[in-house]
């Protein structure tokens, strides 16, 4: 393990390329998990509209990674310029906040509403933080039912912050998996090594991250088993399904402990 960590960049890239197919398989379930967790957390806050925004490029702009609710599809095409709106502020300040009367005057959100046809009345926004970095923003919009809505409470802000912790881990895993995919595309289109600075940055990060190493070791193990034949694949699949159903059953009463 030590040797592989100390290897040259081309060697590391070669090994990473071998796992690209695994990374592609990882991305989709992560997006689904994010949506599911958003739905659960939104229901907890008596809201139907929620979204996760993440950094888009180096200038601090934001894009919607996942959204649920009436205008979810439209939101996915909208970019939030750096520092703009509540989400932009929360991203750059790290401070959660609630705005109880967004729709009164012209604002960034009225511009978004014009595009989507939605009416934003109030927002709860909290930062998504991972490893000391704010990597995105979690937003809940409006309550269920018709306005006027009861304002989000401080207790709900605390609950949203707890959901944000779990969502941030998923977002981080998603971004890592996406990096594999992007890297694969670059390799296939013949980009030069000089264009891979983000990959090198990520490699530096992964070297320090126990969580990522554990996840990738697991992914590589599954890939290795899958390559050995149909019997091994079936056994692996059955085992994993058993663990998942046992974990699901346990999660009714508490977390799986080892």
């Amino acid at each position: 393990m030590t040797e592989s960590r100390d290897g040259s960049l081309p060697e590391k890239l070669q090994r990473l390329v071998e796992t690209i197919d695994v990374a592609n398989v990882l991305t989709e379930p992560l997006t689904r998990s994010l949506s599911k967790l958003l739905e659960i957390s939104a229901a907890e806050l008596d809201s139907d509209e929620a979204s996760v925004l993440v950094r888009d490029g180096d200038e601090g702009d934001l894009r919607f990674l996942v959204a649920i609710g009436e205008v979810a599809e439209q939101l996915l095409n909208i970019r939030v310029p750096a520092g703009k709106g509540i989400a932009g502020f929360v991203m750059s300040s790290g401070q959660p906040m609630v705005v109880s009367d967004v729709g009164e005057e012209s604002s960034f959100y009225s511009e978004v509403d014009k595009t989507t046809g939605y009416s934003t009345q109030m927002i709860l926004a909290t930062p998504l933080s991972h490893g000391g970095e704010v990597i995105g923003v979690l937003e809940y919009i409006n309550r269920r039912g018709d306005p006027p809505y009861e304002a989000f409470t401080p207790a709900e802000m605390d609950r949203a912050a707890l959901f944000a912790e779990a969502i941030a881990s998923l977002v981080n895993a998603y971004e890592s998996a996406k990096l594999f995919r992007d890297m694969g595309e670059k390799m296939l289109t013949g980009s030069s090594a000089g264009d891979l600075s983000d990959v090198r940055e990520w490699l530096r990060g992964i070297r320090d991250s126990q969580e990522h190493r554990a996840m990738m070791e697991l992914a590589l193990m599954v890939r290795e088993i899958a390559s050995r034949g149909e019997a091994e694949q079936n056994i692996c699949k059955q085992l994993m399904e058993s663990v998942l159903s046992y974990s699901d059953a346990k999660s009714e009463t508490g977390y799986l402990s080892l």
Binding site: D58, E59, G60, D61, P81, A82, G83, K84, G85, I86, G88, F89, S92, S93, G94, Q95, P96, M97, V98, V99, S100, D101, V102, E104, E105, S106, S107, T126, P127, S129, G132, E133, V134, A151, F152, T153, P154, M157, D158, A161, L162, A164, E165
Partner: protein
């Protein structure tokens, strides 16, 4: 000891006063007190803020990637700084507000600009500094700690908003050299209280606060970052009446007022 250019480590020459805290500060207006707001900027021509904003500067990276501050007419990019300014102006209407815009400019590292803004405020010896923001990046722990110690020595009272998140945010967790604030549901700005023994010492109104916003508007906001300017406003009142107060004395005065508030609160009949 390493020094920051422009920031003197010696205490300013002050007349030592025995602090008799009368209630006269309650009728003060913050006249003559210079307050810095390190945030997203201020909409200075907002009807509620006209004539109250003395200066607006904005962070920019120069060709050597150092952060410098220029006078700006850029206003407020997010609304948050204007919201904080409105709260301070409501409590201390004659305080001179100075906007140090560190958020919203593209291409600046968030923590880096925030540090530079705080350093600017200390260099210019603002009496009170409103920091309704923070960073969770561990690399800023040590330099921020150093900077805040220097603020304390320079006689600048720094007030920071805690973040109520399940991880520490700097500088609000530094309890020695600044005042940290968390929100409560009170509505009277003078009825702040304290958390005895907690890292975050003061609680102030921060739930459904109606205050100024972009485009000459108003918003109803909840968050610790709106509790922070309440305490800043109160400090401006205290400093008008007692301009020689040190940060230590300001903290002591806030503690005395908060304790009195808590005792009064405990005497209220149960509803």
């Amino acid at each position: 000891m390493e020094t920051i250019p422009g920031i003197e480590t010696e205490m300013p020459d002050r007349r030592e006063t025995y602090l008799h805290l009368e209630n006269d500060w309650r009728s003060a207006t913050g006249k003559g007190v210079r307050v810095a707001i390190v945030d997203s900027g201020i909409e200075a021509d907002h009807p509620m803020l006209q004539g109250k904003v003395a200066e607006l500067v904005e962070a920019r990276a120069d060709t050597n990637k150092r952060i410098v501050f220029d006078k700006t007419g850029a206003g407020d990019s997010a609304g948050h700084g204007t919201a904080c300014a409105g709260i301070i102006a409501r409590i201390a209407p004659d305080a001179r507000l100075h906007s140090i815009k560190v958020l919203g400019a593209a291409g600046l590292g968030d923590g880096q600009a925030f540090m530079a803004g705080l350093e600017y405020a200390i260099k210019h010896r603002f009496q009170v500094i409103n920091l309704s923001l923070g960073t969770t990046k561990p690399q800023f722990f040590s330099p921020l700690h150093d900077l805040l110690d220097r603020a304390y020595q320079a006689g600048c009272v720094v007030v920071a908003a805690a973040n109520n998140l399940p991880y520490p945010s700097f500088p609000s967790v530094f309890s020695s050299s600044l005042i940290s604030v968390v929100k409560n549901a009170e509505t009277d700005p003078f009825r702040f209280s304290f958390n005895f023994g907690d890292v975050i010492e003061l609680t102030a109104p921060g739930v459904n606060v109606r205050t100024t916003w972009l485009n000459s508007g108003h918003r109803t906001l909840t968050g610790n970052s709106f509790a922070c300017p309440h305490i800043v406003g109160v400090i401006a009142l205290l400093l008008e009446k007692h301009p020689d107060m040190t940060p230590f004395q300001v903290k002591s005065a806030l503690y005395a007022i908060a304790r009195e508030n808590t005792e009064t609160l405990n005497k209220r009949p149960a509803s």
